[in-house]
Amino acid sequence: MADKIFRVNMTDLTAKVEDVPEAWMGLGGRGLTSTVVAAEVDPTCNPLGSKNKLVFAPGLLSGTTAANSGRLSCGGKSPLTGTIKEANAGGTSAQLLARLGIKALIIEGQPKGDKWYNLHVTEDGVTINEETETLGMGNFKVVETINERLGAKTGVITIGPAGEMKMLAANISVKDPDNHIRSNGRGGLGAVMGSKKIKFISVEPTMNKVEIADPEAFKTANRTFAKALVDNPITQALAQYGTNVLVNIINEAGGLPTKNFTQGQFAGHEAISGETMHDTIVARGGKPKHNCHPGCVINCSQVYADMQGGYRTSGFEYETIWAFGADCCIDNLDQVAEADNILDDLGLDSIEIPVAFAVAMEAGVLEFGDGAEVIRILREEIGKGTPLGRIIGCGAGSVGRTYGITRVPVVKNQAIPAYDPRAIKGIGITYATSTMGADHTMGYTIATNVLGVGGSLDPLSKEGQVELSRNLQIATAAIDSTGMCLFIAFAALDDATCLPALIDLINARFGIGLVADDVTNLGKTILKTEHEFNLKAGFTNLDDRLPEFFKEEPIAPHNVVWDISDEAIDSFWDF
């Protein structure tokens, strides 16, 4: 059976099933969400109004047995940045949607009254139901409630109280295999879902299988692909230490933004490091290895246990630990874990919010290092939607504007994550030029600037950084369309068998004959489509800039400033 587009109109509460237009056939994941948004959303619309759309799309390989292919893309116009947005996450829903034959779920319009709804997705279409029971609930309770209501195998895509309150840092969470959650984190798409008055989307479990055009070729390619992933030393390290292994290395490189981006090294780095975290998890009987969706062979996630050995948080990422740890100066992993868990439950981006806290600390709202007060504000102010809670819940830019702070690390109003662009210059190009505001995952130059993956390029040099970022952004756009987790890139950059195997997988799935150049061209087309949307929304090259303070305030230990010229940044788009 051919894949379909499921379309839901929240204005008149109708749903229909459509054929996939020819032009969208070869697309999936980010390639599809961005294409749909660019084609159907007025770039100048209010992101929280009726004209914005929310688009979910599994990747090209989601639902198959291909390793690491279970990522779900979600797109729309971001209320945080005003740009086009795609965020992807693990969890079980991408695979279910793909197996139900759903190429994309497009949600448009906006209901008039105060009623809330849930959407239930089956093979035959979407039903729109009035929802009352789960309103105001945190994500964990929502998952529990849906499991009871519809069965534990049901896929769940949900927003927490932050999304209901339309906070601009609200995310969309997806149930994982252990009934915890993974999040489409950045850009505030949870607020868009809240603006459409949808509390959650449930996806019916299915025994259907995705059709494979050439099953034998698929099997062979998958074996090669999985082997490339498993054999790769970096993916092995990811399983042992998680992404948080980066704290010590980025600190050593002098690029760990500390105390609201005033220093490049954090005195308390050991306490929050991947090494300490690993030892703590093992000592307390947590799980150092865990996957965010069935079929991941890398297992970068983990379950962090509290002192009694109980669940404290999972999917505990370097960026979050950096932000609460170094940027807010909280050298206490237990407090950071608790904060991370509250953010998961409230449904908030765990990069945007801690960076916003660091700006609030600079403003004197609370002291640097005061983890207990962070936890109180999360629960009592943000969780309850007080004015202070909403100011922080709308991100770092919102805090900066409210308190008159000039050192606000954002690009296009989205918080800069865990790598200082003054000391690691390639990533500065990615922050400046990304079609979605500051986001390290759009073109992860840290691989080549610091980790020696895909070659090496001096992080302090001005040379070659634009090209590095461009190549990575093109490759990332393509990978984000396959349903693959971005962490396959470490193997793809260094193991010659990995990328051809991935292309063979796509070819075997659809019975087509893509070559490497087609994949690169797909990446380029996606970036250009997204860029075009932003230009029509009113952005210009002058928005592709880092905040002023990076040019003026040198950062220790290298005592460097951001010194890549505006012309060089603009040359990013010469392709």
Partner: protein, 74 residues
């Protein structure tokens, strides 16, 4: 001549986190790694004083040499 060696991730197992030791003049980074019985193949990133360095470089008095296995994240 004395300089400080810092180890990371599993390189610390049965070794140390950080150690200030005496080395003869002309000691290279590679010499240090061999003396610690670390497999050169497993070495990912090397830095002297927070700058990437090569195996042939010679740390100087008071330097900080950091030795990381192949690691990644993001």
């Amino acid at each position: 001549m004395q300089f400080n060696v810092k180890l990371f991730a599993y390189f610390r197992d049965n070794r140390f986190k950080e150690r200030l030791s005496e080395y003869p003049e002309g000691t290279t980074v590679e010499d240090v790694i061999r003396s610690l019985d670390i497999d050169l193949e497993e070495v990912g990133v090397l830095m002297i004083n927070s700058r990437h360095c090569t195996l042939q470089q010679e740390p100087q008095e008071g330097d900080q040499l950091a030795i990381f296995p192949v690691v990644g994240g993001g």
